[in-house]
Amino acid sequence: MAEKNVIQKKIYLDHGATTPLANEVYREMLDSYQEAYGNASSLHSFGRDASRLIETARERVAKAIHAKPNEIYFTSGGTESNNWAILGIARANKNKGNHIITSTIEHPSILEACKQLEKEGFVVTYIPVDQEGVIDYAELVKAISSKTILISIMAANNEVGTIQPLRAIAELAKAHKICFHTDAVQAIGALEIDVANMGIGAMSISAHKINGPKGVGVLYVKKGIEIQSFMLGGEQEKGLRAGTYNTQAIVGMGKAAELAVSKREENVKTLKNVKRYFLRKVNEVMSNVILNGHPTNRLPGNVNLSFEGVEGESLLMMLDMAGIAVSTGSACASGSAKASHVLLAMGMDEDLAKSSIRFTFGTDITPTEVDYVVEQLRVSVKKLRAISPIRIYKVKGVQ
């Protein structure tokens, strides 16, 4: 039979963009749709049923990050949590200073919020990163002044997967009595983050990156940290984040957080094996491939590669035609064909930055599927290199 007639199973390698809903999460959400449709703020039993589920979810999230339940605030996702943390903490602490520190490789929901603050008279320092995407710690130390009120550095980068030295940054912030916020949206499934022990002031989480539903997230705010309210017009979340509770999504968030922790060790191990196998195969059959990000200190499911001479979007579409879903840079940015701001911040040449593809694996992938992916990669890259005007000097994957 001709290959063409075989319907190819689709392979999803874009878990960095979003993940499928876990069965356990789906079931709890479904139950809650039927059993707890009341408004969680209502005083009657219907309301109390919904409220009880929300408080269970709050406890689960708190436990997952070693926080207290009253430090957990439900939001509409990572973007809102990040916006809220930056704007809310900066504005509430304006009397103490007007200086904020972040990095050049943050998610746009941090960077754009910082730009907004600049318009309001705040001063923002963007800490550079090295070639592997690790922030320049010495620069961070230097940037701190008596006016600094907030440091926000992501736990792990969404594009290249590099993990930041969170503990060291948290300690530095603590020593200067500065609030430290971290965007842990990508990291929470892979790293144990003990907010109490590490002294983290605020942290963003999103459910859909850890097999939960889309449109729900958490902002952890340590007790004592001052933060402005983000939504006005209701008493929900201590009046800081008004609006009728999205009970079902919150239930999903709670379960997803619980699962992320209980399965973390096993998932990390599986993903590391997948990554190792994938990289080995790529090395065997391809040339002029560059691994972006830190070689080892990175998210276990993330492999970001630049294929010299091949433009990322074209490669993405070739793979898509073969049933393989990957991404170039971050999903939000991929409408534009610009080189990733993260890779450019890492000092990468623009053509190479444009040649990058992010593979973010899930734990269910099989070696046969990896083999298929690598074969399609090899063929697609060969095709696109034949078209490319960029001259490359052949270097075999591993020498």
């Binding site: 691994l291 034949a386 591993v398």
Partner: protein, 170 residues
Amino acid sequence: MYSQKTLEIFKKPTNYGTIKGASGVGKVRNKETGDLTKIYIKVENDIIEEATFQTFGGVVSIAAASVAASLIQGKTTFTAEKYEERDILLVLGSVDENKMYGVELAVDAIIAAVANYRKKSGIVVTPRANARKLKNDAETEQEEEDVTIDSVESLAEKLSKALKKLKEEE
């Protein structure tokens, strides 16, 4: 997002590659996105006997360049440089606004290739016959590009180092 025709051409482009001893080469780059298209032409008696393209860019940039190279084949240079975006769109079908730069690149590359051919062969044309102005930056071809083998090797080394470390971790 992409028309069926665009995807078809992207998947199976024609006329790609270089022409040895080309009469003219047009190399244009879109500043915003970094997409790069080159068109090579071989001209005899002012007829484009052969045209090829090379593109480092997205789906539309590749498909449009492929269309451009096949459109101008067999045409006079005067006809070739009169092609516009809409001629390429007639083949590709609709193209999203934010990908139109790929079509512009293809047209620019034709114009740049013809200009390069005329410059090389000392042909001067009256302004009336000239094509529209380039919308993207033309780049002149450098004989040897400044990529050293060393720098490429160090990149590959990084990958092998990463693998070694992963193995050690076990």
